[in-house]
């Protein structure tokens, strides 16, 4: 029986492995960094399954392919379907109208309705509630996939993959750019803060002219605050400007965030192709699956299904842009 070798144990690799195993394939995984951790950019993700909100500044496949994410993840990790709340400062209300016009799947809500959903958000007069959107805890999701795969007999090799592998599936993200020349890194910065004084139960987005600013509850008063989008490939550290912008957003949502503890600062590079959409390429014996950009958890299921379709059934999903087997 063919053994498929998945290279890279980030969200792309683990999702591909999980999909392959669920279709009866035999899989092993190589990653010299070991189990999921801070070395991979999916560790630092928001974990929002928000196809509509993401569609505001993305192309159509993000919406269509992203809609399948909820069901896929629900069988593998805990997914909270409490929707997304989008708000804007009074001076940015034109942006809220534009956001509404570009998206769908929301109900418009007023100050009272906002307070009914999230009693700690009192200063916003208008909002959009994307009722079907969901969120998960990315680190929990990675750990779950890792454990489930182990339980299913998948062997994890904590080392580099041998060079002449047959049936390889390369999910190394930005490390694959020596082969995938059109891959680039897009810098993202995020914070993890603890603020038991504020209770939010669903992802909240505050419209901002330059980046999608959001706060995702992780439970126990812990929040993930993200995320910048900078065309830079320097992931060494966060800038003061980014930190100011992220924290001001939290402060604008509720001034009590001013008392939050900063638990973690995350900086990493998202692997992206020029259209910011994921790709599957078969070159020789290797299938490359890459370019999840800011949509790791939203599009990993579709990417994984595309990989399995190609690997097991020789079926070409829309993400396959090159096949030179």
């Amino acid at each position: 029986m063919t053994v498929w070798s998945v290279i890279g144990a980030g969200v792309a690799g683990l999702a591909a492995a999980s999909e392959l195993v669920s279709r009866g394939a035999k899989v092993q995984i190589f990653d010299p960094s070991g189990p999921p951790g801070p070395h991979g950019c999916s560790w630092w993700a928001g974990g929002m399954l928000a196809p509509w909100c993401e569609f505001e500044n993305a192309e159509e496949p993000v919406l269509r392919l992203g809609k399948a994410a909820f069901e896929w993840w629900s069988t593998r990790t805990r997914v909270e379907q409490r929707g997304t709340l989008v708000v804007a400062n009074p001076r940015d209300l034109p942006d809220l109208r534009r956001f509404a016009r570009r998206t769908g799947g929301y109900t418009e809500i007023n100050q009272v309705e906002i307070a009914n959903l999230e009693p700690d958000l009192t200063s916003f007069t208008k909002g959009l509630h994307f009722t079907d959107e969901a969120h998960l805890n990315p680190r929990q999701a990675l750990r779950n996939l890792h454990r489930q795969l182990q339980d299913q007999g998948v062997v994890f090799h904590r080392k580099l993959a041998p060079t002449q592998l047959e049936n390889a599936i390369d999910c190394r993200g930005l490390h694959a750019r020596e082969v995938l020349h059109d891959l680039r890194g897009v810098k993202g910065e995020m914070l993890v803060i603890r603020c038991p004084d504020v209770t939010l139960t669903r992802p909240v987005r505050l419209l901002h002219p330059r980046m999608p600013l959001y706060i995702v509850p992780r439970g126990d008063g812990v929040y993930m605050l993200g995320a910048t989008m900078i065309e830079s490939e320097d992931s060494s550290r966060i800038t003061a400007r980014s930190m100011l912008e992220l924290l001001s957003a939290a402060y604008a949502l509720n001034p009590a965030f001013g008392e939050a503890e900063v638990l973690e600062i995350g900086v990493d590079l998202r692997p992206a192709f020029p259209d910011n959409l994921p790709r599957i390429r078969r070159l020789g014996h290797t299938i490359y699956a890459n370019g999840l950009y800011r949509h790791g958890y939203l599009l990993a299921p579709a990417l994984a299904q595309g990989v399995a379709d190609l690997a097991l059934d020789n079926k070409h999903s829309e993400m396959v842009d090159e096949d030179r087997a």
Partner: protein, 254 residues
């Protein structure tokens, strides 16, 4: 068309490169519109935007680096030097922000930075207000192009003060003038060209449109229309109708 520091622009659209949904859409917007100049920011990406900058170079258009996000003379001058190295050009769009909410240029620092940079061989495109005296000072400082705002950056409000922009055109008939910032619609861009401006610089109106590629093309068409209209010597507006066919001999009094 007037030359910009000795360079003849292929057309009058200068297009920014920030905030597009993806580099692929940015590239299409340039290709479909035919914009001849790309402005690019260095500040946000510091030294590590190489991949993105390479994409901009591959657009094959003239590159106008900018100092967007700079608040002091020192920052702006440093950024200009970096831009010269990265893009191998003496062109610099000099932007010195004086006010956080309106992003209004700090014209005092602007003149000072322009003097330093032109003294060192830079060809400065200053983002300024529509103030005539500031314009005069920028020219004295060595600038050979002026770029007054239409409205605050990203506001999409069009030409806030048409009178001032007209006055500027009249005051500096031989200086290349560019309306920079505030454009929201193609009609705004056309209006700037109808006033006799030499070019229009815009970014947000295209990058944040629902279909940036279509909007880029619409802007180019509007700019061409406005330019053609200006050259065609438009009629003056008047208070009463002027019939286009003779009325004498018709029973117009009945």
């Amino acid at each position: 068309m007037k030359s910009f520091y000795g360079t003849q622009l292929p057309n009058s659209l200068m297009l920014g490169t920030a905030q597009y949904p993806s580099p692929a859409i940015l590239e299409q917007a340039f290709r479909e519109s035919g914009a001849g100049v790309a402005t690019v920011s260095l500040r946000r990406e510091s030294g590590a935007g190489q991949t993105f900058w390479q994409m901009i170079r591959e657009l094959g258009v003239l590159i106008l680096p900018n100092t967007a996000g700079c608040h002091t003379v020192k920052e702006a001058v440093t950024t200009a030097y970096m831009a010269r190295e990265v893009f191998d050009t003496n062109w610099i769009k000099l932007e010195l922000i004086g006010h956080t909410d309106s992003l209004q240029p700090d014209v005092f620092q602007l003149v000072e930075a322009a003097r330093i940079l032109t003294g060192d061989g830079f060809q400065v495109f200053p983002y300024t207000t529509d103030d005539l005296i500031v314009g005069e000072r920028l020219l004295t400082a060595g600038c050979e192009v002026l770029m007054p705002w239409g409205a605050p950056i990203g506001s999409g409000r069009g030409l806030n003060n048409e009178y001032a922009l007209r006055a500027m055109r009249a005051e500096f008939p031989d200086v290349p003038l560019v309306v920079d910032a505030g454009i929201g619609l193609p009609s705004h861009a056309a209006q700037a060209m109808e006033l006799g401006y030499d070019a229009v610089l815009l970014n947000t109106a295209v990058a944040r449109a629902g279909n940036p590629v279509a909007m880029a093309r619409a802007m180019m068409l509007a700019i061409q229309a406005g330019q053609l209209a200006h050259q065609a010597d438009p009629i003056e507006a008047r208070d009463m109708a002027e019939p286009s066919t003779p009325v004498i001999g018709k029973a117009f009094l009945s």
